[in-house]
Symmetry: C2
Subunit: 150 residues, 2 copies
């Protein structure tokens, strides 16, 4: 699991790894590096375009989307000290909605489209996106602490 | 569609009917009375107990649960004049979570268990339950209007 990129030492990437490893009931990921385990999250524009968006995304793709938002929820929880509950809801054909709630406050609310193609151009872009979402979530918790505490 | 029970003239029951009729793409409900259309929502204790809770609830049961919370969301929207978004999420084996959000405010948040057996002892109990949820939702929108307006 030795990786040289300091990106993998950040809280977010560590949590992502934890989430992905938690999906590995049969130990098939044992001995793989962080980069190998998170590789499916990195999709070039060409690779994305090549993924068909017909029908519902498969279970593996879905668990990848879940792991990403679960990781964000865990970090929200760590920063604000209150339970953050993620909800990834795919309705059909890769459309859906992601929510993270803290108390009665919605701290993240995003529409999902083309979930089949869920991915980022690089690990760095993935982390930037997660940090942005985390920052917005923490800000709103701070602003409406009473609602978040309900 | 002539029914004598004044219960069916209430906003909630009218909206329930609208929701259930909206599911009827092929017109098989045409000519049925309100009582007939909403009959699947009434389950005696014995009838509930007789429904097996193995595996995931079927699509018909799910759409019944959805219609109920959609109706509540519509009434929330009518009363507070802001969009109320329902989200019925079943994870597995009848477990799940229902959320209704207005802006960034969670106005209804319930755990679902044994969704296979979703139903009420009578129409009157169904309406009482819906009114209770609606009341709580409107109250919290009033209390945290700023968050609901986000």
């Amino acid at each position: 699991m030795s990786t040289t990129d300091p990106l993998f030492d950040t809280d977010f990437m560590k949590e992502m790894l934890r989430q992905v490893r938690a999906l590995d009931s049969y130990g098939v990921y044992d001995g793989k590096s962080a980069e190998q385990l998170l590789a499916p999250y990195v999709l070039s524009k060409e690779a994305r375009a090549a993924i068909p968006i017909l029908g519902d995304p498969d279970a593996v793709t879905l668990s990848r989307v879940r792991a990403f938002y679960n990781a964000i929820a865990v970090l929200v929880e760590k920063e604000c000290g209150q339970m953050a509950v993620p909800l990834v809801h795919l309705s059909h054909e890769g459309f859906g909605r992601v929510l993270i709630t803290v108390g009665k406050l919605v701290v993240l609310d995003r529409a999902l489209r083309d979930a089949h193609r869920f991915g980022f151009e690089s690990f760095s872009k993935m982390k930037t996106e997660a940090d942005k979402q985390l920052g917005l979530a923490i800000e709103i918790v701070g602003r409406y602490a009473e609602v978040a505490g309900l």
